[in-house]
């Protein structure tokens, strides 16, 4: 009897830690495959597209042609209120041009915190100093006031952000986005035409055919001050590890003399410095720091395992990737309208006149430093 009791107790003690496992096996709770979002496509305007779908699902009448339903001659401050199926409140303005400061709902807000989705069929002006805690949508344009905090904004036209605005999540303009000084575009900003940032603006992820740092966006594309015949062909180096056709793999640091030309890829285990006015008809990869001097033209991509500095008036046709700090000099052009590119680094600092065609993604901090010294 004692032995049976001993065996039974021993068995129970051994089985005890297995009970949760047996329970999950026999009566599964968490059995579905890990979630993969099959429609995810890395699009900067992903959330803006999602919001548009949300609106079309919840308020399809809003998008019916103006002539059928809209009286754009309504007086400013005339609004309609409602609630979506999910309980979210919204306000619609039908005026051709209106300022949220005229909205009766907003006039009684003591803390200036607007917590309803704001929809406008006209040009929408946002009153100064407000915190828009919900999304904003306008069929025409959005012009913010000063010192606004905006969670998210979407318009079919242009967006103008006055001084000291902060975008918390995302912003998308069917036309262009013009920011004024000291704006912070946190999250994602995208436009179908252009994004222009002046001094002291911060950004994270932006996408547009033209992203211009500095208000003068009529600067011509950088052109080399020397002709191709003035450049010397790059010679084979002592620290060559592998040479496979147009691909050079180099051990340690590597310096490309000024006015050199090379048709291929250069990869170095150490630092790379590309002298001024070089032409590289391939890509560059440094496993340490990478410095590109002024007026360099690179047809391929630029990749740095640490910091990357691109000198003034240089032109890079393909993506620029840095795993450290990326400094983009004045009047640098990356990508082109026809072949848009991407610029990615944890920290990006851009100088006046830098122009990016495509996407720029500073996943730590992006900053427009104006004419300040690059270093």
């Amino acid at each position: 009897m004692g032995s049976i009791l001993f065996i039974t107790i021993t068995f129970i003690l051994i089985a005890l830690p297995l009970l949760p496992a047996l329970s999950e096996w026999l009566a599964p709770v968490d059995v579905k495959p890990l979630k993969i979002v099959q429609d995810f496509d890395s699009d900067t305007s992903h959330f803006a597209n999602g919001f548009m779908q949300y609106l079309k699902l919840n308020i399809p009448d809003f998008f019916i042609s103006d002539t059928q339903t809209v009286d754009l001659g309504k007086a400013a401050g005339t609004t309609k209120k409602g609630t979506f199926k999910d309980g979210t409140n919204y306000i619609i303005s039908d005026s051709a041009s209106d300022n949220t400061g005229n909205f009766p709902d907003f006039q009684i807000l003591h803390n200036k915190k607007a917590n309803k989705i704001l929809l406008s069929r006209g040009n929408l002006h946002l009153a100064d100093g407000f915190y828009f805690d919900k999304e904003i949508y306008s069929l025409y344009s959005i012009h913010s006031g000063k010192d606004c905090i905006i969670r998210a904004a979407l318009t079919e036209g242009d967006i103008i952000l006055e001084e000291n605005n902060t975008i918390l999540r995302w912003i998308h303009g069917g036309g262009s986005i013009f920011a004024k000084e000291n704006c912070s575009l946190l999250g994602r900003a995208s436009a179908n035409n252009a994004i222009t940032l002046p001094f002291h603006c911060h950004f994270e992820r932006m996408r547009a055919p033209v992203i211009q740092f500095g208000v003068n966006n009529n600067m011509p594309s950088p052109t080399s001050p020397i002709s191709d015949t003035e450049r010397q062909k790059l010679k084979i180096l002592k620290n060559m590890k592998e040479q496979d056709g147009k691909r050079w793999l180099l051990d340690g640091d590597f310096f490309v003399p000024a006015r050199s030309e090379f048709d291929g890829d250069i990869i170095a285990t150490g630092n790379i410095e590309i002298g001024r006015e070089c032409l590289i008809k391939g890509s560059i990869k440094s496993n340490s720091n990478l410095i590109i001097r002024e007026n360099v033209d690179i047809y391929g991509s630029v990749v740095g395992a640490q910091d990357v500095e691109i000198g003034p008036c240089s032109k890079i046709s393909n993506p620029v990737i840095s795993e450290g700090t990326l400094l983009i000099g004045s009047n640098v052009e990356i990508g082109s309208i026809e072949n848009q590119s991407s610029v990615i680094a944890p920290v990006i600092k851009c100088a006046n006149g830098a122009k990016i065609h495509g996407t720029i993604w500073a996943y730590g901090n992006g900053e427009f430093i104006g004419n300040k010294s690059m270093t």
């Binding site: 830690p17 297995l18 949760p20 496992a21 329970s23 999950e24 096996w25 599964p28 709770v29 968490d30 059995v31 579905k32 495959p33 890990l34 979630k35 993969i36 979002v37 099959q38 429609d39 995810f40 496509d41 890395s42 900067t44 992820r205 996408r207 590890k241 592998e242 496979d244 056709g245 691909r247 793999l249 051990d251 890829d265 250069i266 990869i267 285990t269 391939g282 890509s283 560059i284 990869k285 496993n287 391929g300 991509s301 990749v303 395992a305 046709s317 393909n318 993506p319 990737i321 795993e323 990508g335 072949n339 848009q340 590119s341 991407s342 990615i344 495509g358 996407t359 993604w361 996943y363």
Partner: protein, 421 residues
């Protein structure tokens, strides 16, 4: 003298076990607290290179249509995309299904029919490679369901001129089927979410996995193309590329569903094939790896441990036998015997292919729910793995003279009632 030899052997086994244990701890701590590297995955706009997507298919009628439909929905520029289905001597309706797609999408979907020749994925890829004209070759197994943005994500790292191959993460889609698939789900999570990403973070040797991955055509040609005499062409290629100065990249956010074996029989066959293929790579590249100028010290150590991973199972069994034999021979004091047994038992507990604390970490990083409760049952999988791998190693040594190896295809199961969101 004999006893001394046994003791030295036991110390060696324990040393190896501790080495792997430390390695797994480093990987886990890196994933929890280290800097995470995803430098390429967010490239959104670029002048995208031409891509050939190769889909080897041997009797894949149950799954091939789903895979092709998903590939056609990809947001990769269609004028730079070719999907080449390699119909590898199929005897079911694979050919008819692929024909239907190639008629409907003649500019994108093409097929290459193999009617004879050696079996196996590497042989099929090798034979069809001249038909793949793209700068980048992406390989998907026929049961894989890529998401809309996956192709761009897998191609993005190739803007780095040092990158020769890219590997994404595979996620079991049939995890709900039975205990085995659920255990494999845990194991896969640890392997990708922790091991592979830690290697990527630490610039070590992320392994190209043969599917949900891409290869630069120039790099493949540089290292001699696909080899048809290996059972693990992915491991083989990883090492050949690195020996020539090309890097392999792992992207944890480039996820794709796959099917895992639903029967222990299929799992055992898969493990045997991996063991033999991996050990072939060990024999072929160990010497070159240790003395190659293109490999850094940390890569050399990690690559060595990765190459030797399948030799650990017979070593652990040897350790058990040695420890017990020495103990009963009275040659181990109680304390030292306990230490030795503890080390070996620890290894037994923490496993080989998916260390238990790595599984916990992966579960945490994936924000999974109560599936982690199954963890103690992973001992079953571990026992099966260790015995299977040991048997495969012994067979490989016995059969090494004839030099032949047979390709075993992993069976496919269409997932019932699962919809891809």
């Amino acid at each position: 003298m004999f006893i001394v030899a046994l003791k030295i052997a036991l110390v060696f086994v324990v040393f190896c076990i501790l080495l792997y244990t430390i390695r797994h701890y480093i990987f886990t701590l890196n994933r929890l607290f280290g800097r995470q590297r995803h430098p390429y995955v967010d490239i959104e706009t670029a002048n995208w290179p031409s891509v050939s997507v190769l889909v080897p298919a041997h009797n894949e009628e149950a799954v091939i249509a789903y895979s092709l439909e998903a590939l056609l929905k990809a947001n990769y520029p269609h004028d730079r995309l070719t999907i080449l289905v390699i119909n590898d001597r199929s005897t079911d309706k694979t050919k008819e299904i692929v024909d239907r797609f190639s008629v409907q999408y003649p500019e994108i979907v093409r097929q290459y029919h193999r009617t004879h020749g050696k079996g196996g994925k590497a042989e099929a890829l090798k034979e069809a490679m001249p038909e793949a004209k793209g700068d980048i070759t992406i390989v998907f197994d026929a049961d894989y369901i890529p998401g809309k943005g996956l192709l761009k994500q897998l191609v993005a790292p190739f803007f780095d001129p040092e990158v020769g191959s890219v590997m994404g993460r595979v996620v079991p889609v049939n995890s709900a089927h039975n205990l085995l698939t659920r255990l494999l789900d845990l194991e896969r999570s640890a392997g990708y979410q922790v091991d592979q990403q830690a290697r990527m973070n630490m610039a070590l040797v992320p392994q190209y996995g043969g599917t949900v991955g891409g290869i630069r055509r120039a790099a493949l040609e540089n290292v001699g193309g696909w080899l048809d005499y290996t059972l693990a062409e992915d491991t083989d290629l990883t090492y050949r590329l690195m020996l020539k100065g090309w890097k392999s990249i792992y992207q944890n956010r480039s996820e794709c569903y796959e099917e895992v074996p639903e029967t222990w029989h299929a799992r055992i066959r898969q493990l045997k094939r991996w063991t033999i293929g991996h050990n072939q790579a060990l024999a072929r590249y160990l010497g070159k790896w240790m003395f190659n100028k293109n490999i850094s010290f940390s890569e050399r150590i990690d690559g060595l441990l990765l190459l030797a991973i399948y030799t650990m199972s017979p070593l652990v069994i040897l350790g058990w036998i040695l420890a017990i034999a020495l103990f009963y021979a009275g040659e181990l004091t109680l304390v030292s015997a306990a230490l030795m047994l503890f080390a070996i038992a620890s290894y037994s507990a923490i496993g080989n292919f998916a260390v238990f604390f790595e599984i916990c970490t992966a579960n945490y990083l994936d924000a999974s729910g109560s599936r982690i409760r199954l963890l103690p049952l992973n001992s079953v999988s571990f026992i099966v793995s260790i015995l299977t791998v040991t048997q495969a190693c012994i067979n490989q040594i016995i059969n090494c003279r004839n030099g032949t190896s047979r390709w075993d295809k992993t069976p496919r199961y269409r997932v019932r009632g699962f919809t891809f969101s």
